[in-house]
């Protein structure tokens, strides 16, 4: 950890000094113990503000999108960030040559108050970055077995929901959706949500009513998941960001599980190829609905 922090600072300083990049996006200290916050630096002298520890819970991928136009930008990337970056590259939302990716092998992150490993890290299948320009630190062999659960754990929550009776399931989701305050944090952090104008904001079309009630909340949450269905990189940042703790990964992964069954879709964001299940047609696809 401290080793990676050292290297991050050193490379950030060098990259800014040599003007290879105009900005470095990493993490800095928050006000509280065990709290970090996204950090943007443009001066070599600021490199020592960079922090890397078990509490770097913010996934920085989306900033590669919002910081476009700032010149070439260096971004610290772990598995989740890297997959998000691949996603945005595949969707032609960012340019690879505008990024310098500082790869970090990741051992999982912890929640500030409880000190427990984040849910998303428990089911992470790619803790190491799948795309980078430079790796900071060894890619540890087998270091993550303790933290990385198997494919089964990846769908464990979905299976639990599938096992519920219909009414029970409805109650489960109604309860969750009625909690939603429609702050749209889930959308804003998502590397898939890069539409110039979200359906939510198309007020003239009026897809999404502005009232907060179960119907509208359900509509928002289900439409969001349909829109990201075959492109979600399972980074879990939406669920982490949600102030009302909605079980967003349950719905995201239900879609993914079904796509896996129907189209043998794999995991998204492993490459920057545009190859998502609903984005192409194959004569072998099941056509139950025809």
């Amino acid at each position: 950890m401290t080793d990676i922090e050292e290297k991050l600072r050193e490379r950030a300083r060098q990259l800014l000094e040599s003007e290879e990049v105009t900005e470095v996006i990493a993490w800095g200290a928050g006000r509280f113990v065990n709290q970090t916050t996204p950090l943007f630096i443009s001066e070599p002298a600021q490199a020592d503000e960079i922090v890397f520890n078990d509490y770097c819970i913010n996934i920085l991928a989306k900033y590669a999108f919002t910081e476009q136009g700032a010149g070439r930008v260096a971004v610290a990337v772990r598995g989740c960030e890297a997959r998000g970056i691949n996603r945005m590259l595949a969707d032609n939302q960012i340019k690879r040559e505008q990024l310098f990716l500082l790869g970090i092998p990741c051992g999982g992150m912890k929640e500030r108050l409880s000190g427990e490993t984040l849910d998303r890290c428990k089911s992470c299948t790619h803790p190491n970055p799948v795309v980078y320009d430079e790796m900071l630190g060894e890619e540890p062999e087998g270091a993550f077995e303790t933290i990385v659960a198997s494919q089964t754990a990846r769908f464990a929550e979905v299976e639990a929901v599938e096992a519920m009776r219909r009414e029970q399931r409805r109650e489960h989701f109604d309860e969750a959706f009625s909690r939603c305050i429609r702050c749209y944090a889930c959308r804003e952090v998502c590397p898939v949500c890069t539409c110039r104008e979200c359906f939510v904001d198309q007020q003239r079309a009026g897809w999404q009513g502005k009232q907060n009630n179960l119907n509208e909340n359900r509509f928002y949450n289900l439409t969001r998941v349909f829109h990201i269905a075959d492109r979600c990189v399972e980074c879990g940042e939406c669920a982490r960001a949600c102030p009302m703790e909605l079980p967003l990964m349950e719905v995201n992964r239900k879609m993914i599980k079904d796509l896996n069954t129907l189209f043998a879709a794999g995991e998204e964001g492993l490459t920057s190829e545009l190859d998502n299940a609903l984005g192409r047609y194959d004569t072998g696809d099941v056509e139950e609905f025809m």
Binding site: G30, R31, F32, Q35, T36, T37, P38, L39, F40, N58, K62, Y63, F65, T66, E67, Q68, G69, E175, R179, I181, R182, C183, Y184, A185, R187, E188, V189, T194, C195, R196, D201, Q203, G209, K210, Q211, N212, N213, R240, A241, P243, M244, E245
Partner: protein, 377 residues
């Protein structure tokens, strides 16, 4: 007067016969909490929750200013004439267990909705029927900083009734602080005891109650923040802090004093319903005008607006801070864009060099005013 812990339930039951009683409750399976209707809260959950919870995730503002407030229904009848039916849905409400920050937030909203020649009928109707019962904090969150914003976590002077926990955990000291509070206490009498009253003729006189006192651990330097911010409108710091803001609505929706709204409608065939609902200055659509002109198109402009409104503009208009130090946004902002860090930073800036405050580099302000949107925002 004293309210014994064992009488709390009876009291709430009895109050519930006359009014809707809301109190802090934790939501199942989450760490989030809100003010919930007493009858809907598992009694045990409430007893545990209300007394040990730090301030709730969602503030009580929904009781006065609902996230969706229906205003009127309208339509066209069979003869082709238009009709309008106003909706009046205010009920008598007792909100039990408000924290000092929550009570001050109601004072702020009163200023907005009921003063300076504006009298909001929807807010006013609910406010007139609201009894506020504050409770001195027995525990403070890591993120609470109300005592740096001029509040006292132990007392909310504007509340109708103030409760303070006794150190021995046996109950609360009860004080009526307003006319409404004194009238309301009439309904509490049979559940209260006089201080020093003998429970049994044989038991010794109870000593004067000793009360739990709390103080915030998080301290910020908010002194003169308004005057400092007056000089900072064009400062490059807005551009800088806005980089990490994702402009979601979290901070404004969890804030007890944020009160921006939009008016919209739901139409079905020949009738419809007009409502107003919470909106957020962090959303670009909030200020978007016809023809897509947007005076606050950039994230930096929106971030500046929120902090300026909280710490500067409101003070100027109403003489108090619109940030009550509840710490909800500090806890919930997904990227830890922390208002307490900003407050201290502004204090440090002006201490370092008062002249630096006035620095207004042209590129920064141009970027903000020109409304150059970042990314998809």
């Amino acid at each position: 007067m004293l309210l014994k812990r064992e009488h709390l339930d009876e009291l709430l039951n009895s109050l519930s016969k006359r009014a809707r009683v809301y109190l802090p409750a934790r939501r199942d399976d989450t760490t989030t909490s809100c003010f919930a209707l007493y009858q809907q809260v598992g009694r045990q959950a409430f007893i545990d929750a209300s007394l040990s919870l730090v301030n709730t995730t969602m503030p009580p503002k929904d009781l006065l200013f609902p996230q969706t407030q229906k205003m009127y229904r309208y339509g066209v009848d069979a003869e082709g004439s238009a009709w309008i039916d106003p909706i009046h849905d205010a009920d008598a409400v007792v909100v039990f267990g408000l924290r000092s920050c929550d009570m001050r937030s109601i004072e702020c909203m009163d200023d907005v909705f009921l003063t300076k020649g504006y009298d909001d009928e929807f807010y006013g109707a609910r406010r007139a029927l609201l009894t506020t019962v504050a409770i001195g904090c027995t525990e403070v969150a890591e993120t609470c900083f109300c005592d740096s914003m001029g509040l006292d976590p132990n007392t909310a002077p504007a509340a109708d009734i103030q409760l303070n926990a006794l150190t021995d955990g046996s109950g609360w000291l009860v004080n009526a602080q307003t006319e409404r509070g004194r009238a309301a206490l009439a309904n509490w009498q049979e559940y209260l005891q006089q201080e020093g009253e003998k429970r049994e003729p044989s038991s010794p006189l109870e000593p004067a109650p000793s009360l739990v006192r709390s103080a915030c651990t998080l301290k910020v330097n908010a002194e003169g923040i308004k005057e400092k911010l007056d000089e900072l409108y064009e400062h490059p710091l807005w551009d800088e802090i806005a980089k990490k803001c994702i402009t979601c609505g979290t901070c404004t929706f969890v804030c007890p004093t944020c009160h921006c709204f939009d008016i919209s409608q739901e139409n079905r065939m020949k009738e419809g319903e007009r409502f107003r609902c919470w909106d957020s200055c962090m959303f670009s659509a909030y200020t978007e005008m016809a023809g897509h002109h947007n005076p606050r198109a950039s994230r930096a402009a929106r971030v500046r607006q929120r902090f300026m409104h909280k710490l500067c503009f409101f003070e100027e208009r109403y003489g108090k801070s619109l940030c009550v130090g509840c710490g909800r946004c500090v806890e919930k902002c997904p990227v830890a864009l922390d208002i307490t860090v900003l407050i201290d930073r502004i204090a440090a800036l002006s201490a370092a060099s008062p002249a630096a405050l006035a620095a207004s580099p042209a590129p920064s302000s141009a970027a903000i005013e020109g409304g150059v949107a970042h990314g998809a925002n």
